[in-house]
Amino acid sequence: MEYNLIVNQEKKSADATISDHHLKVKTGDNIYDASFVIISEHHILLNVDGRNVNAFIFSDQGGKTVIIKGRSYFIQDSDLLEQNLSEKKGFMKQSIIVSSPMPAVVISVLIKIGDRVEKGQPLIIVSAMKMETTLFAPFEGIVSGINTKEGDKVMPADILVDIEKEEEPQ
């Protein structure tokens, strides 16, 4: 079976022949002979060409994080990613929305509705784990909505400020 994977944002393919707990995997340059034992939900003991490797795995935002010897690999199945294209569009939007990069508490709102903001102007200050982070305007425009207030707990997906883009001058 052919797997088209994205490992740490790099495309890779692997051809795997699977029988019970035995895998024969062909990657770009190499052929591996592997067997595996599921130790627990997040722990797999691999035996690759006679050598033991403990791998730790968990599902994470449209892919899986695999940790081997302290190194972490974010792996996605690109065949499955097709389905997530709409999510991807949402991700594209991320760069132009004002949201906290981590779960945080809003400590200060620096603008009000109707304000004209410049690109890069500080809008909101959030604090997580005692560290302050300032959220800036991604582009120039008029503030049309503020969806939070001081003291609110906010999550990364929350859109905190709506900014109406101004027409580009010709």
């Binding site: 490992v7 790099e10 699977i18 899986k64 695999v66 010897k69 792996i75 200060s108 784990m129 302050e132």
Partner: protein, 560 residues
């Protein structure tokens, strides 16, 4: 001796204190906020008292609630840990007024030393060298209201010379600190540092001192009893910092000659005596590139990084804190302290080193702690625990002790590789890269280390290729660029003799035969195995899987 001690703190440091309490036959009382109902320190103590909402000012900083908890449980003493109320002289005084023993220095000593301006004066008077800086303080006093007289400020700062450091007078833990490079930034920096300090410490005052871009941070551990016996337990090198917060500490410091070590140790004892210090404390010095040292501050509490001193000296600092607080005289003399070997600590935070170390709170889905000879993990989390956004993101402190620095580094790399935390981002992989980097191995550690060698760091994907090239070029003499040694590569190349400790390293690394790109292949195999095995698990019942899957049956190559 006390029969019961309340620990006015949370997470790993509360647990650290509980360990010693139990060894001493002292009962422990934990306190907790809403989000900490299931925190590990609550699970570990003999008793636990709820003290308020998650917001620190309403719980762990709430003096009334903590005093009440102590009274209610009839605790005789309070250990403040680090952070929170540990350096709050009002709290120390309040404990005394209520007939409770505060395990730490006197309120007066905390007050004098906690105020960077007063402590500066004490040190100047007792002949301890101090940093060039302002002799007064500034800042804003109430939440957002900024009232800084900038005209005076800019003139005065001009005299010290940019860059300068704006620092909270009640500071610690890297909070409330800003570097300022020019006069137009100073006002905003003072305001934002002040705001952060107010939130973290309940005190918005800041002061300003010279900022050395290339300096080492070296501190000395102090123990002092009520009777004027003061000793030091040697130094800790804490130069590896991010956002002005230490992340890797070690002892002894490579840079110190035994002469300089003695001189600084004596200065540390002098500093403690001049401020009538009692209990455990830490005298922090900055060492510039010409080996001049300057007094920075005395931290009037147990330090986060105290375990490395415990490892090399064999002294339980918390036990001594408790004994001193109970009025016993110090049984150790300076000549009793003989540090042995080398110890390193890595602070494991819930943070993302790829995103400028932004906090990464979340649920611990899975974890596996490292173990082995000379490995200690002071840990505040467990599998299933939700790391709250409300507090410092420290998860645990991984500490190793070995005979030499090289062995300690190898041991730490091994321990980090064995440490698995799923669910939050951690700097584990980053730390492995730091420990394997040439500047770290050669001991060229300065406070700008991370910025100079590791800014824009990405998980090994992008490091692999460059790492290998750099490791190759490292074999050419006269190369002064920082090189990153890809451990996988090095281990695989046993013929090479370019790295002193290589032989030693290759001894413990069974994965060594894999290059970085082969490791990616192995990760993909794991991914496929999980996909296949996961599907199997769904179709079979758990007991079925258990019956058919045995490592002895499936794996032919076990060599035990």
């Amino acid at each position: 001796m006390f029969e019961k001690i309340l620990i006015a703190n949370r997470s790993e440091i509360a647990i650290r204190v509980i360990h010693t309490c139990r060894e001493m036959g002292i009962k422990s009382v934990a306190v907790y906020s809403d989000v900490d109902k299931k925190a590990l320190h609550v699970l570990s103590a003999d008793e636990a008292v709820y003290i308020g909402p998650s917001e620190p000012s309403l719980s762990y900083l709430n003096i009334e609630a903590i005093i009440k908890a102590a009274k209610q449980t009839r605790a005789q003493a309070i250990h403040p840990g680090y952070g929170f109320l540990s350096e709050n002289y009002k709290f120390a005084q309040r404990c005394k007024d209520e007939g409770l023993v505060f395990i730490g220095p006197s309120a007066e000593a905390i007050r004098n030393l906690g105020d960077k301006i007063t402590s500066r004066k004490i040190m100047l008077d007792s002949g301890v060298p101090v940093m060039p800086g302002l002799n007064g303080m500034t800042g804003c006093t109430s939440d957002m209201a900024v009232s800084v007289d900038t005209s005076d400020l800019t003139d005065a700062v001009e005299e010290i010379g940019y860059p300068v450091l704006v620092k909270a007078t009640a500071g610690g833990g890297g909070k409330g600190i800003r570097i300022v490079n020019s006069s137009d930034e100073i006002k905003e920096a003072v305001a934002s540092a002040s705001r952060e300090a107010l939130k973290a410490f309940g005190n918005g005052n800041v002061y300003i001192e010279k900022f050395f871009t290339r300096a080492r941070h070296i501190e000395f551990q102090i123990l002092a009893d009520k009777y004027g016996n003061t000793i030091h337990l040697f130094e800790r090198e804490c130069s590896i910092q991010r956002r002005h917060q230490k992340i890797i500490e070690e002892t002894p410091a490579l840079i110190l000659t035994s002469e300089l070590r003695q001189e600084m140790g004596a200065a540390a004892v002098r500093a403690a005596k001049a401020s009538h210090y009692e209990n455990a404390g830490t005298v922090e010095f900055l060492l510039d590139d010409k080996n001049n040292f300057y007094f920075l501050e005395i931290n009037t509490r147990l330090q986060v990084e105290h375990p490395i001193t415990e490892m090399t000296t064999g002294v339980d600092l918390v036990r001594h804190q408790i004994e001193i607080a109970a009025g016993q005289s110090l049984r150790l003399r300076q000549e009793d302290i003989h540090p042995r070997g080398h110890a390193i600590e890595c602070r494991i935070y819930a943070e993302d080193p790829e995103k400028d170390f932004l906090p990464s709170p979340g649920k611990i889905i899975f974890m596996k702690e490292p173990s082995g000879p000379g490995i200690r993990n002071d840990c505040g989390i467990y599998q299933g625990f939700e790391v709250p956004v409300d507090y410092d993101p420290i998860l645990s402190k991984l500490v190793v002790h070995a005979q030499t620095r090289d062995q300690a580094i190898s041991k730490m790399v091994k321990a980090l590789e064995d440490y698995v935390v799923l669910g939050v981002k951690t700097p584990i992989e980053f730390m492995v890269n730091v420990l394997n980097s040439r500047p770290f191995r050669s001991g060229e550690v300065f406070t700008d280390f991370i910025k100079a060698h590791f800014s824009g760091w990405k998980s090994n994907r992008e490091f692999n290729s460059s790492e290998r090239e750099l490791a190759d070029s490292a074999r050419e003499p006269g190369d002064s660029e920082p090189e990153f040694i890809d451990s996988a590569r090095e281990f695989s190349n046993s013929e090479s003799e370019s790295i002193d400790s290589e032989r030693e390293l290759s001894n413990f690394e069974p994965l060594s035969i894999y290059s970085a790109s082969e490791l990616i292949d192995v990760a993909m195999i794991a991914f496929i195995a999980d996909a296949v095995g996961g599907a199997k698990n769904n179709s079979n019942s758990f007991s079925d899987t258990k019956k058919t899957v045995s490592p002895w049956g499936t794996l032919g190559n076990w060599q035990l």
